[in-house]
């Protein structure tokens, strides 16, 4: 391997939090113009390392050295790291929705002419930057009016404006659909050609395999190894082995489905957008669920998957227009969430922090929160019962916590998701709608969640599984509906499905739905 120019070196970084050693003796070397991926389970220390690099944790709060372009640097905040040419794009985007693209790009960095902001010049530069990231929107568009994928591109444009040399991307494609993800990855590769190095944290191993030049694997706060994609012949299994310490034989637990009769049916479901009255977000969709069955819903982001699920769940999204729901042969009407819960529906939201949990609560209160009446006498909640129920779920679902009185905000993503699952299992649902149940969760916890989903189906419950990850649907679902622009376009048997046919139905409306 030819000696290449090293642009960034982090040497023996150690960072401690009260009682926790988040990073111990981690070193990282990034060459100029490469894409360097950082892999590791949730909580391994990836984000902490990047926060050290970008100055979120200032010099002095960690030990070790950072050498950037041959000189030792000591960043005291994000501004100083940006000034040096290191920009971080966080998992949660830091754009202001009420401002335009231009205003966001130049926020905190406004070009001035005689003391006033030079908006004409700013807009011209914004045009150029948007062209570089392949975005053709008007720079005057407000951020709230463009999708997450485009917002991600605006973030990159913002970084480019600061003449960035190293771009840090924390889970850049987590919220993006396949097409947008691909565009973003192409862009990162394009930047590499212009000499910009990228450090990418991602859980999507296929993407890493696709674009990265080298990979550093972090486990329990230590850098385990650095792999060179070209030289070491790296594939997904190899990365997983590094991340978890051994290889996973299978990414999905074994299961023999025991599927019964159709017991839940949605017919001709049509829902209007909550603000735009002429837009139907769900159009005449029908689906059936049998007992013990895992039914997948595949669709691109914005296709109406979540809208369909939430509108079924007590009309918690949009304006109900028409449609009927049957359960156990009887028609039921679910006018609000309370009625949906009473009829045995449960909905695990795709956004567990915003919609799934009250982050101020502790674990035990969260678990019982959707059906307090179950542990109450009259209106008085029985604390002892609450505690023992929470303990039971903690053990059964293996929620990693010293006790159930701990705040849910202190848990890792995978454990938070288990708390959400416990909360809905506690309501004794017959139908569980799981919306992206493994988003932002590491490989090991995913496997456990798959096990929980399968166990629920084995109890005879019907599970509706919405997922952006096709392998997940193919690995779990007995039957997969595809949805495109609010309408169900196809229904494929799990055994017959393959990514290509699913993708085809997810991107076109021509096929007719086969009945089962």
């Amino acid at each position: 391997m030819a000696v290449e120019h090293v642009i960034l070196e982090m040497r023996s970084i150690t960072k401690e939090f009260p009682g926790v050693k988040a990073l111990s003796d981690v070193s990282l070397t990034v060459r100029a113009g490469e894409i360097h991926a950082i892999c590791g389970e949730n909580g391994a220390g990836k984000s902490t390392l990047m926060k050290v690099l970008s100055g979120v944790y200032p010099y002095g709060s960690y030990s070790g050295d950072i050498i950037f372009q041959g000189k030792e640097v000591r960043f005291k905040d994000i501004r100083s790291s940006e000034a040096a040419g290191i920009a971080i794009i966080h998992q949660e985007l830091a754009l202001i929705p009420e401002l335009s693209i231009t205003e966001n790009i130049f926020l905190g960095n406004e070009p001035t002419k005689w003391g006033a902001i030079d908006w004409v010049g700013a807009k011209r530069t914004a045009y150029e930057l948007l062209a570089r990231v392949g975005l053709r929107d008007d720079p005057d568009t407000l951020i709230k009016n463009i999708g997450v994928g485009k917002q991600q591109l605006v973030e990159i444009a913002k970084a480019l404006n600061k003449s960035v040399k190293v771009l840090i991307l924390d889970e850049p494609t987590a919220a993006l659909n396949e097409a947008d993800s691909q565009h973003l990855l192409d862009l990162i590769r394009g930047l590499k050609g212009k000499g910009i190095s990228s450090i990418m944290i991602s859980h999507k191993l296929n993407e890493i395999e696709q674009v990265a030049d080298s990979i550093t694997i972090i486990r329990d706060g230590r850098a385990i190894e650095t792999l060179d994609i070209a030289a070491d012949g790296v594939n997904e299994d190899r990365i997983i082995r590094g991340m978890v310490g051994r290889s996973l034989e299978s990414r999905f637990p074994d299961r023999t489905p025991k599927i019964g009769e159709v017991f839940f049916e949605v017919r001709d479901w049509t829902v209007q957008h909550p603000q735009v009255s002429e837009r139907m977000v769900v159009k005449g969709s029908s689906l059936t669920v049998r007992t013990g069955e895992i039914v997948g819903i595949a669709g691109l982001m914005g296709a109406g998957r979540t809208e369909l699920a939430m509108s079924i769940f007590g009309r918690s999204y949009g304006n109900f227009i028409s449609g009927r729901i049957f359960k156990d042969g009887k028609e039921i009407e679910l006018r609000n969430v309370g009625e949906a819960i009473d009829h045995g529906l449960a909905y695990v939201s795709e956004d567990r922090k915003a919609l799934g949990l009250n982050l101020l609560d502790d674990i035990k209160r969260s678990i019982v929160s959707a059906k307090l009446s179950k542990i109450a006498v009259g209106s008085v909640v029985n604390d002892a019962k609450e505690y023992s129920i929470a303990e039971e779920y903690r053990k059964n679902l293996r929620i990693k916590t010293p006790n159930v009185e701990m705040g849910v905000s202190k848990l890792s993503g995978g454990n938070q998701q288990k708390v959400v699952l416990a909360k809905w299992m506690f309501t004794d649902p017959d139908i569980l709608i799981l919306d992206e149940p493994t988003r932002g969760i590491d490989v090991g916890a995913k496997y456990e969640i798959y096990g929980i989903i399968q166990a629920l189906a084995a109890q005879g419950k019907g599970v509706i599984l919405i997922s952006s990850e096709l392998p997940e649907l193919l690995g779990l679902a007995d039957r997969i509906y595809t949805i495109f622009e609010g309408a169900i376009t196809d229904c494929i048997d799990g055994a017959d499905a393959d990514p290509e046919s699913l993708m085809k139905s997810m991107t076109s409306a021509k096929k007719k739905v086969r009945s089962i």
């Binding site: 009260p18 706060g221 310490g245 918690s316 915003a354 009250n358 008085v380």
Partner: protein
């Protein structure tokens, strides 16, 4: 569960974290409680023992009970994520309506009290309607209410003072009556005090029993004994002070009303479904709605409840003053809001307790009272109170941003009992997860 990636580290870090994290709110309330004790001791010293004299304590309770009653309602409003600026005006309006009902319409006073509560409920329903069902922010609705009901008071009473009859003054200026043998003390006050002391001991004993059945962590026995001993000593000392005042005075009736309300609302917020829902809506409204909570109803109820308590506070004040006037209840809302925030509530909602707010209100009350005893002018009193509010909340915010607890927090942290051994999962078949594939639970990331 034979092997894990980092079992030792995980447990230890998570355990410590819970002390720092989930118990934070309790810690802050402990901090405020210690501040209260420190302030009392300070003023006791500065006023040569006047602060903890019978006369002053009795005066303190009857003078501040209505602010504390407002704080009870206010903390629920603030937990739900709102604010109520109208309470002073609502109190004044209810006061004048009740006074007029007795003076001009010859209502007997018990009926007048019920009538006053009804007026409060109607006002609360009006404000709750705008907040919960129309969606106007409570800040605006109650700012409007502040003007409307202040004006209403002056319109209704022609900006005059309306006196109230003798019987009615019991709720604001009355004391526990003298009964039984002559002991030199007020017997009912003594009885009440002893009952409270016994209740404290019984409660601690029961809480230990519950902990035992739940196998959760439990402080050692001596901690419980010390706690009960200290609390009971304070209660009995206070009992003798209240019972041994000037002849004809004893524990104020308004203090009893306050005590009952504190017990009732502490129970409601902590142990009932409605109480849980208030915290849920304030903590994350969307998540609460998706859990089947009717957030509109919750918002309506907290606003309505606040106005009912405001009308009660107004009546107690009128009863104490002997008349209802156009300036009643001026800036009460600010005292109540200050009490709630000093007592540990969060501006963003979802956090706060009734007891904390009462302690916060007592801090302000003792401060006010002590400074008055020292003859400090009202100009300086206001400046000092403002600074106390700012510093109390500022210290807390700063502590939070530093991610570390106060010194008091470290002293009062929970002790962890050993966990019971983990039995194998009952519901789930072992999915065969490779042990090493399970996540290391390091919440720092």
């Amino acid at each position: 569960m034979s092997s894990n990636t980092a079992p030792v580290d995980t447990k230890k870090s998570a355990g410590r974290r819970s002390i720092f994290g989930s118990g934070k709110n309790n810690l802050r309330q402990f901090g405020i409680l210690f501040s209260l004790i420190a302030i009392i001791v300070l003023f006791q010293f500065l006023t040569d023992g006047l602060t903890l004299s019978s006369g002053n304590l009795i005066n303190l309770v009857s003078q501040y009970s209505y602010i504390l009653i407002l704080a009870i309602g206010m903390v629920m409003v603030i937990i739900a994520g709102h604010i109520d600026l109208s309470v002073g005006s609502v109190a004044a309006f209810a006061g004048i309506v009740v006074a007029t009902s007795m003076a001009e319409w010859n209502f007997p006073w018990p009926l007048a009290v019920l009538f006053g509560l009804l007026v409060g409920a109607l006002i609360g329903a009006w404000q709750g309607f705008w907040v919960a069902y129309v969606g106007v922010p409570a800040f605006i609705v109650t700012l409007a209410g502040m003007l409307i009901f202040r004006g209403g008071n002056q319109f209704f009473g022609n900006a005059n003072t309306v006196p109230v009859p003798e019987g009615f003054t019991v709720i604001g200026a009355g004391y526990l009556p003298e009964v039984g043998p002559v002991t030199g003390y007020n017997n009912l006050t003594l009885l009440l005090g002893f009952l409270i002391a016994i209740a404290i001991a019984v409660r601690e004993w029961r809480s230990r029993r519950v902990h035992q059945t739940m196998h959760s962590e439990m402080p050692p026995l001596w901690v419980s004994l010390l706690k009960v001993g200290l609390l009971d000593a304070v209660v009995i000392y206070a009992t003798f002070l209240f019972a041994g005042g000037r002849v004809g005075t004893s524990f104020p009736v308004s203090g009893i009303i306050l005590g009952v309300l504190v017990l009732f609302y502490s129970f409601v917020t902590r142990n009932t479904i409605v109480g849980r829902h208030v915290y849920a809506v304030g903590g994350n409204k969307l998540a609460a709605e998706l859990s089947g909570v009717n957030s509109r109803r919750v918002n309506f109820l907290v606003m309505m409840n606040m106005s009912i308590l405001a009308s009660l506070a107004g009546m107690i004040f009128v009863a104490r003053a002997g008349a209802s006037g156009p300036q009643d209840g001026l800036s009460w809302e600010l005292d109540a809001i200050a009490a709630v925030f000093i007592g540990g509530a969060a501006v963003s909602g979802g956090i706060g307790t009734v007891i904390g707010s009462i302690v916060g209100g007592l801090v302000m009350a003792v401060l006010n009272n002590g400074l008055q005893l020292l003859g400090v002018g009202s100009d300086l009193v206001q400046i000092i109170k403002g600074m106390v509010l700012l510093v109390a909340v500022g210290v807390d915010v700063w502590n939070k941003s530093q991610g570390r607890p106060s010194i008091i927090g470290l002293l009062t942290r929970n002790r962890k009992a050993s966990e019971p051994p983990t039995p194998p999962p009952a519901v789930l078949p072992d999915a065969g997860t490779p042990a090493s594939a399970r996540p290391a639970d390091n919440p720092s990331n």
